[in-house]
């Protein structure tokens, strides 16, 4: 395995060097590069002053413009956006709080309305009940009175009828006693007897 690995690396190395060599050869300026010593141009110090000079120039230009104009401007834009969003969020929060307050008020009003409605219903119901009870009581009083009147009238009629019956029975009895036994009985005495008898009968009944 190790040998294979090493062989692989050697092969890769060969390929790379061949590639570099061919690439150098195929480039038109290869000779010029070789002329300069063959090493990387990065390590040729003759170009360093120019590179550093222009680096400083462009760095100073960029730094000045970025720090004086571009970055503060973008910063303000971002700050404005953040403030804008924050303001909207705060607004939305106050609005939602207001909505909550309105909602709770609405709920309270609804609850109150429900309570007053139920109390009103109850009072109306009890009112109706008392009125009904009154009406029923009045009706009962009236018809009881009428019944009592009617009963009294019946009683009176019965009494009158019974009185007539007693006197009738008494005369009948005196007449029967005259006719059957030839005894002339006193009518008033007979009536007293009949009355006591009928009284006894009614007591027994």
């Amino acid at each position: 395995m190790l040998i294979l690995k090493n062989a692989f690396f050697v092969m890769m190395g060969l390929f790379f060097s061949a590639g570099i060599a061919l690439a150098e050869e195929s480039m038109p300026h290869a000779e010029e590069a070789a002329h300069q010593g063959g090493g990387l141009p990065q390590f040729d110090p003759t170009s360093w002053p120019s590179q550093i000079f222009w680096l400083v120039v462009f760095f100073v230009i960029l730094y000045t413009i970025f720090s004086k104009s571009v970055l503060p401007s973008i910063g303000t834009t971002l700050g404005n956006r953040k403030a804008h969003i924050d303001r909207h969020i705060a607004e939305a929060e106050t609005l939602s709080k207001e909505a909550e307050i309105i909602d709770s008020e609405l709920k309270a009003a609804l609850r109150e309305a429900g309570q007053s409605a139920s109390s009103e219903i109850q009072s109306a119901e009890s009112d109706a009940k008392t009125r009904l009870a009154d009406a029923i009581a009045g009706f009962r009083d009236r018809y009881e009175k009428e019944i009592g009147d009617a009963e009294n009238r019946i009683q009176k009629a019965t009494d009158i009828a019974l009185q007539d019956m007693n006197s009738l029975v008494a005369t009948l009895a005196t007449q029967m006693a005259e006719k059957v036994a030839g005894i002339s009985a006193d009518a008033t005495q007979a009536e007293t007897v009949v009355r006591s008898l009928s009284n006894k009968a009614s007591k027994a009944a």
Binding site: S50, Q51, L55, F58, F59
Partner: protein
């Protein structure tokens, strides 16, 4: 390595020092113009609901701002323009380097070292101005036994001094390696294609691989700019607060 060759376009000599406007400077200028146009357009829109360009600019702004708040903290705001400019310069150099026939100015050690030294000296100067002698407590971690202190201070000192080296070499080496690798693979394709006959079919594999590599290099271009900015933030943090 022709693609890394610097050639002057406008030769300028300033008191014996060659500061010619070169192909590197040209692409640096293109990068600067591109970033200025992009960010300038994004900054000029100012609308509450951003359009495409404004969105891109604001995303970059937010990205760098996030880097700073995460790595330096709230006090890092003062370094925002610095880190932002560093990030824009590096990412523009890396991405413009992906254009054919362009020049990758971040593939030169002079440029990356210039940027890294800028960060290094910013940390050093601002740190000393702000914290005075206390700044050197950076090299003395707490809770180290006295007999080991000299070694720890030495290690801390070396790691502090090596910061600009690693920062610059990382970016430069990544850019060079990516471009060299793509060139090598393209060299294979040319080799097969120039063999004649049916050998051209052999160039299909390196071409396919190079297509993948180009995508990967775009990723590297972004990642290296990101890493550069993150490390700059971490180094700049020492000026804001000394951990011990």
């Amino acid at each position: 390595m022709h693609q890394f060759q610097i050639s002057p376009i406008i030769p300028i000599d300033l008191g014996g020092v060659d500061i010619s406007f070169t192909n590197s400077s040209l692409w640096m200028m293109i990068g600067a113009i591109c970033s200025l146009v992009l960010m300038g357009l994004a900054a000029s829109r100012k609308s509450i609901i951003p359009g495409r360009v404004q969105m891109v600019g604001e995303e970059i702004y937010g990205f760098v701002e996030n880097l700073i708040t995460e790595n330096i903290g709230g006090k890092g705001k003062e370094y925002f323009p610095l880190v932002f400019t560093l990030f824009m310069m590096v990412i523009m150099g890396n991405l413009l380097g992906m254009l054919p026939y362009s020049f990758t100015y971040t593939s030169h050690l002079a440029v990356t070292a210039g940027l890294a030294l800028l960060v290094f000296f910013t940390v050093l100067v601002v740190g000393i101005i702000r914290h005075g002698f206390h700044f050197f407590h950076l090299f003395i971690p707490p809770g180290v036994p006295a007999w080991l202190l000299w070694l720890v201070v030495l290690i801390e000192l070396v790691s502090f001094i090596s910061r600009p080296v690693t920062l610059s070499v990382r970016l430069f080496a990544n850019m060079v390696a990516g471009h060299v690798l793509m060139k090598v693979i393209a060299g294979f394709a040319i080799m097969f294609a120039s063999m004649g006959g049916l050998a051209w079919a052999g160039s299909l594999l390196p071409i396919a691989f190079n297509i993948v590599m180009i995508g990967f290099e775009f990723f590297i271009a972004f990642i290296q700019a990101y890493v550069f900015a993150v490390l700059a933030c971490i180094y700049l943090k020492d000026t804001v607060e000394i951990a011990h």
